[in-house]
C-alpha cells in the first residue's frame, strides 16, 4: 500500500473545557473515498475542522496532522487550501449576500484556470442561476454551490462534510456520482450519514464514537458484517442495503 495522503495521529481537541476528540488516529489513502462515520455529536465535523485549521479560538489542539511530510497544524487555513486542501463545510456556508456567480468567482485561485465547464456540467442549475443571490437558493441548490465552489480548482485532498444532507433523492444520486468521479483523481475524506451513499463510494471507513476511533478498515467489510454495523452504527444490515 502506498503512502497515505493524510495522516492524523493522536489528535485531541478540547473546546471550552470539553474533550471533544480524545486521541484520534487514522489515515486517508491516496486514492478513493475514506468515509468518517459516527452518530450525531461524536466529533466528525470537529475532526475535519481541525484538519483545515478551523478549530475555534477557545479550542486547544494536540497531536499531529500530516499531509505527506508536511505538518498541517499551525499553518493558516488559507495556505492549506491554496496548497490543495479543499473543504466543503457541513452547513454549506455559501455567501448569502453574494450572487451565485460571485460565490464561484471568489473561489477561483490565483494562478490556475478555474474549471467552470466541469462545474457547470455537473450542476447546470448554477449556470442558470448565476445572478441570483445565494441566500435565496433552496437548500439543495446551496449544497451544489458549495461543492461546485471547491471543484473549480485542482485539489490534493477534499474534505467534504455531509454533502447529501437535505438533497432530493435524485440529486443525492447525482452528487454521489459526482463524488465518485471526483474521487478517481482526488482522494476524499467524506463525512456521510446516508449509508447508501457510503456503500456506493467508500473504500475505507473510520468510525468514531464519543471522540475516539472505534473502528477502521475496509468499508465494504464494515457494511457487510451485520454485527459490526449494528454495534458501530446502530443500524441493521437491512437498512444499509435498503
Amino acid at each position: 500500500m502506498s503512502e497515505p495522503v493524510l495522516a492524523v495521529e493522536d489528535l485531541s481537541v478540547r473546546i471550552a473545557g470539553l474533550h471533544i476528540l480524545q486521541g484520534v488516529s487514522f489515515t486517508v489513502a491516496p486514492t478513493g473515498v475514506t468515509v468518517l462515520l459516527g452518530r450525531n455529536g461524536v466529533g466528525k465535523t470537529t475532526t475535519l475542522r481541525a484538519i483545515v485549521g478551523l478549530t475555534p479560538r477557545n479550542g486547544e489542539i494536540r497531536g499531529t496532522i500530516r499531509m505527506g511530510a508536511r505538518s498541517l497544524l499551525a499553518r493558516p487555513t488559507h495556505r492549506l487550501v491554496r496548497d490543495g486542501l479543499g473543504y466543503v463545510p457541513e452547513d454549506r456556508c455559501v455567501f448569502a449576500g453574494l450572487t451565485v456567480a460571485e460565490n464561484l468567482r471568489l473561489a477561483e485561485r490565483r494562478g490556475t484556470t478555474p474549471a467552470y465547464d466541469k462545474v457547470f456540467a455537473l450542476f447546470p442549475e448554477l449556470e442558470r442561476r448565476g445572478r441570483q443571490r445565494a441566500g435565496s437558493l433552496s437548500g439543495g441548490q446551496q449544497q451544489m454551490l458549495a461543492i461546485g465552489r471547491v471543484l473549480l480548482n485542482d485539489n490534493r485532498l477534499l474534505l467534504i462534510d455531509e454533502p447529501t444532507k437535505g438533497l432530493a433523492p435524485k440529486v443525492v444520486t447525482e452528487v454521489a456520482e459526482v463524488l465518485e468521479r471526483v474521487a478517481e483523481s482526488v482522494p476524499v475524506l467524506l463525512v456521510e450519514q446516508n449509508l447508501a451513499v457510503v456503500r456506493r463510494l467508500a473504500r475505507d471507513a473510520v468510525v468514531l464514537s464519543a471522540g475516539r476511533v472505534a473502528w477502521t478498515g475496509d468499508a465494504r467489510e464494515l457494511l457487510l458484517e451485520t454485527a459490526l454495523t449494528k454495534s458501530l452504527l446502530g443500524v441493521g444490515a437491512s437498512e444499509v442495503h435498503s
Binding site: E162, G166, A168, K170, Q193, V197, G234, V235
Partner: protein
C-alpha cells in the same frame, strides 16, 4: 383543517409558489416532496406567516388567516420547525424548551413572577426533551449542540407548543442513521389518534413512505400531484424529476 386556496408567491416575474390548492384533514399526515428549489420551504413560510403571499389565501379551520402575523397563527395551533435549525443559542437546552412551553401556556406579560419557580412549565419541558431523547443535554448551551442534536431540539420546541397543525421542514436532515428510527417514532406518536395534522417536507423517501397518508409533489412551485403514496410513487414524472434512478 388547514387549507390553501390558490396560494401564490412571486418575486418579480417568477412564481416561487404557484397557485397551490392544498387540503389537510384533521389527523392527516401529508408528506411533501419535490426537487430542491421546488418551493417547499417557501410554501411553509407562506403558511406560517413569515412571508406574505402575493395572491391566494390560507385557511385554518375554515377561518382566513392570510393576514395574521406568525405569532397569531402559532396561537391558533400552527407550529413549525425550520430547515436550518434555529434555536436560541445562548440559552440552555432546557430554557429553550421552557420558553416554548411558556409561549404555549399563554403569552401574557409576566414581569414579576419567578420563571424558574414554575414547576409545571419545567415538567412539560422535561417531558418534551425526554421524548426526543435530549434530556441528558438539558444544561448545555443550545448553540454548542452538534447538528443532529439541534434537529432534535427543534422538534422538542415544536412539541412543547402542542400544535394542532405541524409543519416539519426536513426534520431528518443530518440526523445520524441510528437516530432516524427513534425520531420517526417520535413524529409518529405525535399524530395517530390525537387529531393532529402534519405537513412534512422530507427527502428521505423511506421516512415519508412510512409516515405519510398522502404525498404531495411540488415542482417549480406548483403542486404536481397529491395522492396516496402508491399512486405518487408510480407516477412517471415523479420518478423522473425527483427520485431518479435509485442508488
Amino acid at each position: 383543517m388547514l387549507a390553501t386556496r390558490g396560494l401564490t408567491w412571486r418575486i418579480g416575474e417568477v412564481a416561487i409558489v404557484d397557485n397551490v390548492y392544498l387540503d389537510l384533514a384533521p389527523g392527516e399526515f401529508l408528506g411533501v416532496i419535490g426537487p430542491n428549489g421546488a418551493g417547499k420551504t417557501s410554501l411553509f413560510n407562506l403558511i406560517s406567516g413569515l412571508r406574505r403571499p402575493t395572491d391566494g389565501r390560507v385557511l385554518l379551520d375554515g377561518e382566513d388567516i392570510t393576514s395574521l402575523p406568525p405569532h397569531r397563527r402559532a396561537r391558533l395551533g400552527l407550529g413549525r420547525t425550520f430547515q436550518a435549525s434555529s434555536v436560541f443559542g445562548s440559552l440552555t437546552v432546557q430554557e429553550n424548551v421552557r420558553l416554548a412551553v411558556q409561549a404555549h401556556r399563554g403569552g401574557s406579560m409576566k414581569l414579576w413572577r419567578r420563571a424558574a419557580a414554575d414547576r409545571e412549565v419545567a415538567a412539560a419541558a422535561d417531558a418534551a426533551l425526554d421524548r426526543v431523547g435530549l434530556a441528558h443535554r438539558g444544561t448545555a448551551l443550545a448553540g454548542t449542540l452538534a447538528h443532529g442534536e439541534k434537529r432534535k431540539l427543534e422538534i422538542a420546541l415544536l412539541l412543547a407548543g402542542e400544535p394542532r397543525v405541524m409543519l416539519l421542514d426536513e426534520p431528518m436532515a443530518g440526523v445520524s442513521a441510528e437516530d432516524v428510527p427513534e425520531l420517526v417514532a417520535v413524529i409518529k406518536s405525535l399524530t395517530g389518534d390525537s387529531g393532529r395534522s402534519v405537513l412534512m417536507v422530507e427527502h428521505h423517501m423511506d421516512v415519508i413512505l412510512e409516515l405519510a397518508d398522502r404525498i404531495a409533489v411540488m415542482h417549480h412551485g406548483a403542486l404536481l400531484a397529491c395522492d396516496t403514496p402508491e399512486t405518487v410513487m408510480a407516477n412517471a414524472t415523479v420518478q423522473e424529476a425527483y427520485l431518479g434512478e435509485s442508488l
